[in-house]
């Protein structure tokens, strides 16, 4: 490795790089969360045969900025007998929890704020579990009985689904053997296959639990519009509400990146060890260039002149990023940066795919009733997660003791777990059918 490449590597390892990464995260995440909101509204509109925000900027690209300005200007009201200190503190807690848990996430092999701490995934899980403190205090501080009910419901939901998420993560960690994030991704690289294929049931449980944990899609009962108006957020307005809102979206990104690291092979490109697919490394630069071409193509069609200018700017920005991705290929010493850049691209691509699934579920599925929600959590998800941990454990045992190849053992145990799952659900159907009396609303089964 020639001296300049070495210098660059040393340059990347100095201590203040982590500081910069931290600042970047704190500054960029609200912006990203804003644009995630825009993407969600556009997707929702697209699925519902309408256009979504088109007015602010071309194709509504400036909508998040407009939202942010509106929220800043809006006068935030504090309910009179509410607990001032806690009313101010609650949204801050939920935002801080989401951002600090992002610290330990490795967005690429090099780009990680807390330099590869030993308890990687556990840190992320633990700190993001502080988020619901903000929710419960927020509900309590705005002392209207609607928000208290909403806060209690969402906390009960978060606590119960966190156990399920924890167990799902345990079964994935059994495969990787370590908590350190970079080691987990290495394990997936050596195994040559992502953990989602080795432990599919764990991945599914984690998907369901993470949706419930971020209060979204079929599980977004706490702020179910039709009953509790807006759950714990009813009394908040203006910037405070924006904090909660960004906290929720940042949480979604955190949960997405944990799932990507654990199940979708962090920053590995789709077929890491397959050499004849090496051209995949070119893909990031190509995709961004394509986006640039598309935005310039759209620039001509903008009704307002200033929007054409804006679209040109977006196009040129995409081209610049594409160049940044392409340059290291040609300049020899810069070759060492390639894995970092490509890794970050693939990681963000997978996280956005994960979040797309969140949004997709949100638009299609109706909402669970609260008791069904808890029913699904406690009666079906957690026992299934426990059974899954056992089955992955047995698989590992089979592999070490009896030398059964790893994926064959896991295949067997996954079939066993699925059988257990079907039995579990059927047992519940019988129990609910028999117990359902006409007068009292029965525990209708779900899932």
């Amino acid at each position: 490795m020639n001296p300049t490449a070495h210098a660059i590597l040393v340059f990347l390892q100095t201590w203040w790089v982590e500081l910069v990464c931290g600042v970047v995260i704190v500054a960029v995440v609200p912006l990203i969360a804003g644009y995630v909101v825009l993407v969600e509204r556009k997707l929702m509109a697209d699925m519902q045969a309408r256009l979504g925000p088109m007015r602010v900027g071309p194709h509504g690209l400036l909508q998040p900025i407009a939202d942010a300005v509106k929220l800043l200007i809006k006068e935030d009201i504090i309910p009179d007998q509410s607990d001032k200190l806690i009313f101010w503190l609650a949204p801050v807690i939920s935002m801080v929890a989401a951002l600090t848990s992002m610290g330990a996430i490795a967005f690429g092999p090099t780009f990680q704020v807390a330099r590869d701490i030993n308890i990687g995934i556990l840190f992320v899980l633990g700190v993001s579990s502080l988020g619901f403190l903000g929710i419960i205090l927020g509900g309590w501080a705005s002392n209207s009985h609607y928000s208290i009910i909403g806060a209690l419901r969402s906390t009960a939901q978060l606590v119960s689904y966190e156990t399920a998420a924890g167990l799902a993560i345990v079964s994935a960690l059994l495969l990787s053997g370590t908590l350190r994030i970079s080691a987990i991704v290495e394990a997936q690289q050596q195994a040559g296959v992502w953990f989602i294929f080795l432990a599919p049931v764990a991945a599914f449980i984690y998907l369901v639990a993470s949706i419930a944990e971020t209060n979204r899609a079929p599980f977004d009962l706490p702020e179910a519009e039709s009953e509790l108006v807006a759950g714990y957020m009813t009394e908040y307005s203006g910037f405070r509400w924006a904090l909660y809102f960004l906290g929720e979206y940042a949480n979604m990104i955190v949960v997405g990146s944990v799932a990507t690291t654990l199940f979708l092979g962090g920053w590995l490109r789709p077929f890491p060890n397959v050499h004849w697919l090496a051209w995949l490394d070119w893909l990031p630069a190509l995709i961004i260039a394509l986006i640039g071409v598309y935005s310039i193509h759209r620039a001509g069609k903008q009704p307002v002149k200033v929007q054409t200018g804006f679209m040109w700017a977006v196009g040129l920005a995409c081209f610049a990023v594409a160049v940044i991705f392409a340059v290291p290929w040609f300049v020899a010493p810069l070759k060492v940066i390639i894995p970092g850049l490509n890794g970050a691209f693939w990681f963000l691509l997978k996280v956005s795919a994960y979040i797309y699934v969140f949004m997709w579920l949100r638009f299609t599925l109706p909402r669970y009733r609260f008791d069904q929600l808890m029913h699904l959590g406690w009666y079906i998800l957690i026992p299934l997660a426990i059974v899954n941990v056992f089955s992955v454990g047995i698989a590992m045992l089979l592999e070490t003791e009896f030398g059964v190849t790893r994926w064959l053992a896991l295949l067997l145990t996954t079939i066993v777990t699925l059988a257990a799952a079907i039995l579990l659900v059927r047992w519940h159907d019988k129990r609910t059918e028999s117990a359902s009396s006409a007068s009292l609303a029965p525990e209708s089964y779900a899932g």
């Binding site: 607990d83 200190l85 503190l89 308890i119 633990g126 502080l130 403190l133 419960i136 208290i148």
Partner: protein, 177 residues
Amino acid sequence: MLDSVLFYFFGGVAVVGAALMVTSRNAIHSAVFLITTLLATAGIFLQLGAEFLFIAQVILYVGGIMVLFIFVIMLVRLDVALHHIRFRMKSLVVMTVFGVLAAEAGAIIYYARALPGQGLFIQNMAPADKLAPNSEKLAESLFNSYLLPFEIASVLLLVAMVGAVVMAKSKNRTEES
């Protein structure tokens, strides 16, 4: 240098939080201050190289136990029952108790200096980077040498859970549940 800055920060937050917790009027305020103190002590664990304990403290203490406290305070509307009772010369009693305890501790430290051996100032800590990866060693000792206490602890937790549920479930709603 960074080490001492962090220590004074965490230590300061812990002591101030504890003091506020003890003296604050509203139960929820004291709960929030206790949470800050717990997070500060977690920071000190991190500084002492005990990463696993740091995350255990954050998850178990703040994520688990404090949620119990907040739930109880919220559900049972305690602060409402509190406001109408005042205890007059509260601060005087607090001061005397604190004074007595501090004097006692000072006496111990003073006499400890005269004891044989290093007394209170024992040799310094092992430097940070030489330490083995914390959670692996902790896990290895937890499941090898301390397996029996580990099982007893889990039984203890089970018993506590059952006990809490039985007590908290009110008598009059048994037929409907």
